[in-house]
Every structure is written in C-alpha cells, then in structure tokens.
C-alpha cells in the first residue's frame, strides 16, 4: 500500500486532491458555524482523536522487516501537511507584523520611526531574498547588483547582527553572575563554590594551576591503587570538574528529564482525549 503518487497519475491526482481539500474546507467552515456549540465541540474532539490515533497506531502496530506497517508510508505526507500548516501560519504571522507597523506609521504612534525601519528592512530583505532564490533556480537574472546587495544584506549585516546578539550573552552572564552569586545561605554557598570549580576546571588554566603549580597528577589512577591514592590522584581541578559534570549534574538532569517526559506524555494524552480544557 502506498500513499505517494505515481509519477504518471501525478497531475490528475494533484487536481483531485486540491479540489477535494478545497471542498472539504469550504464545507467544514459553514458546518462549524451552523452546528450548535455541543455539536461543534464533538466535531473538534472527533477530528483531534482521529489525528492522534493515526500517530499512536503507527507507533504501536507491528512492523515488517523493512520497519514499516500499513500506516508508515503515510507518515511523511502527514508531516508535510504539518509543515504546510506551519507555512500558512507564517504568512498569517508576517501579515500581522506588517499590519501592526503600517498602522504605527500611518497613525504616527509613539516611536513610529522604528516601524519605518522595520518595514524598509522587511521589504528590502524580502525583495533580494526572493530575487536570489529565483536566480538560483535560473528563473531570474543573476546581476552584479543582486550579488553585491545580497552579500551586503546577508553576509555583512544579518550574519553580523546575529553574531552580535549571541555575543551579548557573555556580557549578560557576567552581570547576572555578579548579582546572583552571593553567599546568602548554605545552598547558595555550595552553588557558588561548585560553579567556580567547574569554571576554572574546564579551561586550560585549571590544568595549569592543578598540575603545573600544585603538582597534582594528571595521569589516570593506576590499577590497584588504594582509596587514599585514588583520592590524591583525582584532586586536580579538571578531574573534579569532570566528576561534578558527570556524577552530580547528569543524574540530577536525568531525573528532571524523566519528570518532563512524563509530564509531556500526560499532557499529550489529555489533549488527544480532549480532557485538557486550558485553551481548547
């Protein structure tokens, strides 16, 4: 059983599917409006359940040697459909953004100058980006104006702005750490001390202090060493930092991840069975 189109029948099928989807959507909208609230809810609950059931069934149904079951080939088209919904939403989001800033400019709201900058940047970037994509597909001419403008806008502006924003984090972590790492309680002291050991232990300076200045052993613990020997062998900051990361940090994180995973699964079940009333 295949869910992909045969190349020979492609055009016929594409038209049939597009028209079918069009009729379905056109039919659903008035149906949702005509139905009483209870009926509307039943329709939404039913569609949600069926959509969820599809993915659950595909996971639980036994598979053949090719790791496929009856529903597996339909997974990719279903994922494509999700991407399609995402693309439509992106159009909606972009429309909302442009509309808001156009309003700001037309009504000359406070700080409307920023909106002008946004709109000009938006149109310029979109224009050259679309032109470049068309040129890559050889549907539009690749002129020096396009090449230079594209380089200026993307390589020399967008890429640099991206890098600058990420770099800000270094400065922010400095001021946040200066403010937050205060020895106010025993827990805060442990936190601060651990952070310092890891910060120094993971950089070459930690190795220099431990092995060159203090003379701890950088070699792995020898076979058959006593407990005291093992302890002395592992006192170097890089080894302590690695121990903190692997033996203290990782288990705590794993425990949190179990909780998060279970929480996500419970939420998914509630959504699937429409038991979740938050935003639905």
């Amino acid at each position: 059983m295949t869910w992909q189109l045969n190349p020979q029948d492609q055009w016929l099928w594409i038209w049939a599917i597009v028209l079918g989807a069009f009729v379905l959507v056109l039919g659903l909208i008035p149906l949702l409006q005509v139905l009483p609230p209870r009926g509307r809810r039943a329709l939404v609950v039913g569609i949600t359940f069926l959509a969820g059931l599809f993915f659950a069934a595909e996971f639980f149904m036994p598979v053949n040697e090719e790791q496929k079951n009856m529903l597996t080939p339909a997974i990719q088209p279903a994922q494509n459909l999700l991407q399609l919904i995402g693309a439509l939403a992106l159009g909606l989001g972009t429309y909302g953004l442009v509309r808001l800033h156009l309003k700001n400019v037309v009504q000359k709201r406070t700080q409307w100058g920023y909106s002008v900058v946004l709109l000009v940047s938006f149109v310029t970037m979109a224009f050259f980006s679309i032109w470049n994509t068309l040129a890559e597909k050889e549907l539009a001419p690749k002129t020096p104006l396009l090449e230079n403008s594209f380089k200026l806008l993307f390589d020399f502006t967008l890429v640099q702005l991206d890098a600058a924003m990420f770099s800000l984090i270094a400065f922010y972590i400095f001021s946040a750490a200066y403010r937050a790492f205060r020895i106010r309680s025993i827990e805060a002291s442990i936190l601060m001390f651990t952070a310092m050991v890891v910060m120094i232990g993971v950089v070459p300076l930690g190795a220099y202090i431990s092995y060159d200045l203090m003379g701890f052993s950088a070699e792995p613990t020898p076979e058959g060493a006593s407990f005291v020997q093992m302890l002395v062998h592992n006192l170097g900051l890089p080894k302590v930092a690695n121990w903190i990361l692997t033996s203290l940090n990782a288990p705590a994180q794993r425990a949190i991840e179990f909780g998060v995973g279970i929480g996500g699964l419970a939420m998914a079940i509630r959504l699937w069975l429409s038991l979740e009333r938050g935003i639905t």
């Binding site: 992106l90 909606l92 991206d162 001021s175 959504l271 069975l273």
Partner: protein, 276 residues
C-alpha cells in the same frame, strides 16, 4: 534498529501504556470526587503579586513563550498565559504576548481573546497585543529586548522552551526592574533564569502549573498519575542498577530495560522463544 516503533522494544511500549493508564485512572478518580493535594509553588503565587504591581505602575505585562513550536509545551504555556490574562482583565492592565512561532501566534490570538471573553471584558482585547516578531532566534531576541526596554514592562512571564536567547530576555527584564517569573523544560537555560529572574519553575513543575492555578480535578488527577509513573521510573532505575551490579551490563535483563531489541533478547534467553 531504532526506537521508531513499539516493536523495537515492547517493554518500553508497555511502560508507555502503563503511564497512560495511571494518568487516566487518576483523572477518573479525581472526577468522581477524590481529594487530591498539590504542594505550594512559590513562583506561581508570585504571579498575582506581579500583576498587581503592573497595575499600580500602569505599565504592561509581557508574556513570552519564546521560540516554542506548536505542541504540548506551547499548549501548556498558552494555558498559563490565558490564566494570567484573565487576572489582568480584571484590572485592565495592558499586556503583550511575544512569540517566535507563527502557529503559536495564531493559536495565542484565539486563546487570549477567549480569556478576555470569559472574564467578561471582550472590549479590552487588542489583537495587536499578540505579536509574532520573527522566527529567527536572535532577531526575535532583539525584538523582545527592544520592546521590554521601550515599554518599561513591570512584569515579565516567560513560560515555554528556551534556548540561548533566554538570558537576553531575563537580563533585559532585570534592567528595567520588572518582576520576572520563568518556567521552562529547557534544562540548559535554568541557570540563566535562576540568576536573572525572581522565580523559576523547573522541569515538570512547568506541567504542574495549570493544575496548581486552576485546581481542576482532571489536571490534579493527571498529576497523581505522573507521580506514580515517576516512582515507577525510580524503581526501574534502582532495579536496573542493582541487576547490572549483580549480573553485569550485558545481561539480557539489562537490555530489556533500555535497548532496542532488548525485549526479544530477554524472551529468547529466559523463555526460549521469539516475540509472540
């Protein structure tokens, strides 16, 4: 072989089924009237305080789900934001919801409009308050930071999945003196939030938030089910460690607990047959 299907390790599939059953069973218990307890989460108690402060100062409240794409995390974030909006609606405090995901934006518009309707103040709903800024991480981060600075927000709520942009939001909020409450499942961003926010909700507390705020039986029951699942995981981890110590890590019972194909190997060794 990968974990793409239940058959890859039937034991894992049984565990998933067990968790689902526990959740549903306890939801049912709660619905028929069982009294369930939930411990105090200080960060959530601070939400009302932060809203009160915004109202006094006449400055907006920001709600940020970050770059969270549409899924269970986004639904949970929007549920929390809907609760906050209902509180805001009582005092007509201005709000901004800023997202980096277009699908979340579309759903958020509906959720926030619903929140105002349910509070009896549909007139306060302004579609322009919910904004999709950009789906590029740092363009979104600069957009949020700019808005927090320009509008001098008094309270900033960040709930969802966050990446490197988290500290940019939290530190900018700190600069303008906003009360900040963050809740995330992103383990790597927790240290940044702890350093720069007033309250941080970590890990599965994030999923407990809606139960805590609404005290709905369905959600409280689900939490009890989750706790039973957690105990099961702890029991399995402990048994795994003990069995691995006794039998060694290559024993089929260890593979049963955590490897694709482990179920078949286990059945083969202990019962001498293949998968039924």
């Amino acid at each position: 072989m990968t974990y793409q299907h239940a058959q890859d390790n039937w034991f894992s599939a049984i565990i998933i089924g067990f968790i689902a059953l526990m959740v549903l069973l306890n939801i049912f218990r709660a619905r028929v009237g069982a009294q369930l307890f939930i411990r105090r989460i200080p960060g959530l108690d601070a939400i009302d305080e932060a809203i009160g402060r915004s109202t006094e100062m006449g400055r907006p409240v920001t709600m940020i789900p970050g770059m969270t794409s549409f899924g269970v995390v986004a639904v949970q974030s929007l549920t929390i934001f809907k609760y906050i909006t209902k509180q805001i609606a009582r005092f007509a405090t201005p709000m901004r919801l800023l997202t980096g995901d277009a699908t979340v934006f579309a759903v958020a518009q509906e959720a926030i409009a619903d929140a105002y309707n349910e509070s009896g103040r549909p007139d306060l709903y302004d579609g322009d308050s919910i904004r999709f800024l950009s789906d590029r991480q740092f363009a979104f981060a600069s957009g949020v930071a700019g808005l927090i600075q320009r509008e001098r927000v008094a309270a900033n709520f960040m709930f969802g999945e966050f990446y490197a942009e988290s500290l940019i939001f939290a530190e900018t909020g700190n600069m303008v003196g906003a009360i900040q409450v963050a809740g995330t499942i992103s383990f790597t961003q927790v240290p940044f939030f702890v350093a720069a926010c007033d309250y941080t909700i970590i890990g599965d507390e994030f999923y407990a938030t809606s139960a805590y705020l609404s005290r709905e039986p369905v959600l409280l029951g689900s939490l009890v089910g989750q706790d039973i699942a957690k105990f099961t995981f702890a029991f399995l981890a402990l048994s795994g460690a003990t069995l691995a110590t006794v039998f060694g890590v290559d024993d089929s019972i260890i593979k049963l607990l955590g490897q694709p194909g482990g179920f078949d190997a286990f059945i083969q060794e202990y019962f001498g047959g293949g998968t039924p």
